[in-house]
Amino acid sequence: MVNVRDIAGGVLDPELPQLTIDELGILRDAHAEGQRAVVTITPTYTACPALETIRADIATALRDEGWAEIDIHTVFAPAWSSDWITDSGREKLERAGIAPPGAMPETGVRNLPLLPPPAPRCPRCESTDVEQLSRFGPTACLALWRCRGCAEPFEYFKSHLSCG
């Protein structure tokens, strides 16, 4: 049978199907315990509606490869961070027109008065002359930006603090 880690790691994110859940940092662990496949995932956001689909997709992928006993656990700790998105995941995001998140060295809430968030680079023309259109986007993990260089709007995968 194919390795549990390889099967679970190859499952695509339903919202961002360019990336695997491994590349997004959602897959925390996957291993075999005898005849049982044990997989642990963590949500990007507490309410991420894609999580149920991801669980179902992992189970289907494992069953297709012959695993009958499957345990899929969801854990909150340690809390997911956009820093966990792999280098290949970042490249794929950029190719899909989504600016990957910058590294977030900060911890804790920003002090007032408020500082602007770190600005992304346009995934199309690489210009840094960009502006935020909306802090929230079509999914919990995306924000809307616009490039003043090529005048195209684009999505930005929000940077997410590594620790609270």
Binding site: T46, R110, G164
Partner: protein, 233 residues
């Protein structure tokens, strides 16, 4: 208070806040803000699901998140009154989000370092989402307060009307940390901070004594589940 009561109260705060906030979906003044408020409501709902599930485990009586959310009547809810008040205009919603997020940020930060590992994990996750909500609410409060005559007047009214309810929200012990976070925003927004020691301080939510508004909210939220027990999508 037992651990169950504490987690249930917090879970009810974010559940009811999520339900109120979701009333803005498809009704906000522009698409971006519509999406923003819906996103925040979804974050709060996710926190509520995790907290109520955990409360059910602590209670040990077999109640899951659905039983706690859909099968209790208003007198059994433990949320503070602030979150059940009608959503009002946009300024009311934003100022309430500022007040609530500032309190949630303090509570989640503390709980993330607590002894209950499950609760600490939920809180560590939620505090990051809450920081984003707090930032969003603060930016809008400043824009409204330091905006036009109309937006300033509405923001000030939103502060004045909801201020009395913040005493129940913060309690005595959490008051100063909350003020330290909220007052600089009000100052920057050119909004006047109301009487720091008012006689009118509505409360009772933690004991199940709610305003009439909660009943209407629950009727809408619970109707489907109660009319069609066990229904699934």
């Amino acid at each position: 208070m037992s651990d169950f009561d504490t987690v249930l109260g917090l879970g009810d705060d974010v559940l009811i806040a999520a339900q109120r906030l979701a009333e803005w979906t498809s009704r906000a003044h522009d698409l971006e803000e519509d999406i923003a408020l819906s996103n925040i409501a979804l974050d709060l709902l996710g926190q509520a699901r995790a907290l109520l599930t955990h409360a059910g485990h602590l209670e040990g009586a077999g109640r899951d998140e659905d039983a706690l959310a859909f099968l209790r009547d208003d007198r059994q809810f433990r949320n503070v009154l602030l979150v059940e008040l009608p959503r009002g205009d946009f300024a009311t919603t934003i100022v309430r989000l500022l007040f609530l997020s500032a309190r949630l940020w303090e509570r989640y930060t503390r709980l993330s370092q607590g002894e209950d590992a499950t609760l600490a994990a939920i809180a560590a996750k939620a505090v990051k989402e809450t920081a984003y909500h707090l930032d969003h609410a603060a930016q809008w409060t400043i824009r409204l307060g330091d905006g036009t005559e109309e937006s300033h007047a509405r923001a000030q009214r939103a502060v004045d009307e909801q201020w009395p309810y913040t005493f129940e929200l913060t309690g005595e012990s959490g008051r100063q940390a909350w003020l330290d976070r909220v007052v600089p925003v009000l100052d920057k927004a050119t909004l006047t901070r109301p009487d720091p020691d008012p006689a009118f301080r509505p409360g009772g939510g933690r004991d199940g004594l709610h305003s009439e508004h909660l009943g209407y909210l629950l009727a809408e939220m619970q109707h489907l589940h109660r009319s069609h027990p066990g229904a699934t999508w």
